[in-house]
Symmetry: C2
Subunit: 312 residues, 2 copies
């Protein structure tokens, strides 16, 4: 635990959550995968995001997985777990636990069951969590993902929270897919910890003063994304960005979560990775193989042509 966590920056991986044949979290595969993406160049782990099927997990399951990750030797300072739930006590409990294990920040969804709620109501939702947690070490990165949550965080609300809690509400992950949102945020608040939710916007984000990306593709393409991050001001920066953009477009042509799991299954040879919790569905064998072929055609280094098919 640290009294003054360092601001998060860099390439963070919203790690996938593997399941065993009873659809319970597979802690061993989870921990292995986290170590792998860190070794491949990720600065940190955004466990329990949308990509991690976090809202399909119970509070207890999330706590056990995070504890296992810490026990495996990953320092809490490089972990930013998702802790925003529909229910206030769940968000509070998960946020407290993140602080207990020394996480430098948390990624926080707004409560997402009720739709068309007011900015005042959402403001109070975050205030109640901050007050109940009552810990000066807390660093919140707001999680803006309206296509999934159904609850957008308007810029005026983000600014209001950052004004009210300047030491606590320090950043945001923009998964809206709408670059002008991040751009406007960074223009209004230079220095705010803005992460792009897709590496497609990585260079734009860094040039505008943002701090990095928290991107699902980092589960399978961390080295290239790290290179583009490190080289964003180099003379080949556009080439590096184009390469990760092209690969992202291949990946997101399929449903992202089962698609990424299919790639991890192919890379690791662990077919357990193919499982998802409903309401998500595994990718079909044909779609998985199409995805993997497209990646190989794009020069995807972890796979050779001999590994082209996932077996049924």
């Amino acid at each position: 635990m640290t009294n003054n966590p360092k601001p998060l920056k860099g390439v963070f991986c919203p790690v996938l959550t593997p399941f065993d044949d009873q659809l319970n979290p597979d802690t061993t595969l989870f921990v292995e995968h986290c170590h792998r993406v860190l070794a491949e160049g990720c600065h940190g782990l955004a466990v329990f995001g949308t990509t991690g099927e976090a809202n399909s997990l119970s509070v207890k399951e999330r706590i056990l997985l995070l504890d296992a990750l810490i026990d495996s030797g990953v320092d809490g300072s490089v972990i930013a777990p998702g802790t925003g739930c529909a229910a206030l006590p769940d968000s509070v409990r998960l946020t407290q636990h993140a602080l207990e294990v020394g996480c430098s920040g948390v990624l926080m969804l707004p409560p997402f069951y009720y739709k068309n709620v007011t900015d005042d109501g959402l403001f109070q939702a975050f205030v109640k969590i901050i007050e109940r947690v009552g810990d000066s070490r807390l660093k919140i990165y707001l999680y803006h993902i309206p296509p999934v949550s159904g609850v957008p965080l308007e810029l005026a609300l983000v600014e209001r929270l950052a004004d009210a809690y300047p030491e606590c509400v320090v950043g945001l992950k923009d998964s809206s897919g709408n670059w002008p949102y991040t751009e406007a945020l960074l223009k209004a608040r230079p220095g705010f910890g803005a992460f792009s939710g897709s590496e497609i916007f990585l260079r734009n984000n860094l040039l505008a003063g943002g701090v990095g990306t928290i991107t699902a593709s980092a589960n399978v393409n961390a080295p290239a994304i790290r290179s583009a991050y490190d080289g964003f001001r180099d003379k080949d920066a556009e080439t590096l960005q184009s390469a990760i953009t092209r690969r992202r477009q291949i990946i997101q042509a399929q449903p992202m979560i089962p698609g990424l799991k299919a790639v991890v299954a192919a890379v690791t040879g662990e077919n357990g990775w193919l499982r998802v919790r409903p309401p998500l569905e595994p990718l079909s064998l044909a779609a998985s193989n199409d995805l993997i072929k497209s990646l190989i055609t794009d020069g995807y280094p972890p796979l050779s042509k001999s590994e082209i098919s996932i077996e049924s």
Copy 2:
């Protein structure tokens, strides 16, 4: 506990959840309110629905409230708790608990975080809950409320579930506000346990073979709704229906949950009822008084003109 729960029918109240000054559930007020709406004519209690702010409550909070209700002497056979959560283990735990305390049925939302999921994925979500619970007493009433959940239950999916589990998936609450949905469902499956989610459709629903209504307004207008239910074939049926429709329209002109809480606060003199958990907001004093004045003008019997204002 009963081995063969009787099918649910009648007027069910999706009871409001009161909070204390720390925004924790107020068990005493909750239990009192449940007894009151039963005494006023409700056949049963649909605790932990949208109106009950269920998804703003933790699993533990819901279990404690339901246990308190049972301990107060309400028979489980008249309680149909909401048990559908975003996370599979939470839905399973709450459903098991409902069976443990003898509930005759549960109202089940689909997992509601991911949007635009497939019918196959949603089908599997319900299958996994049914399999994990593994109890032949389980009676599921599907909860279709797309404007809030963001996850509609298409009729084809409802039929597929009812075909696959004819003894288990026995009904549905339609809170879409779209009467043709219920109408088509009852045409396709005569005898299916269809509840209208608003008393506006009560008579239509009963005439079409439906079984009743689970309606938020029953928190404040149970006697009139019960009369319309009992008299739906009487010669004054249309008059009874018009009266509850008119009152519903007054109520839903304001945000429903804080509006209903304001009315209960006025009726009981317990201002604690005004509290909601964020992201919901209490009604303004002006809006509360407008609502109460409109109800009194409509002849709302629990209040007299001397009680017209909620104090600030």
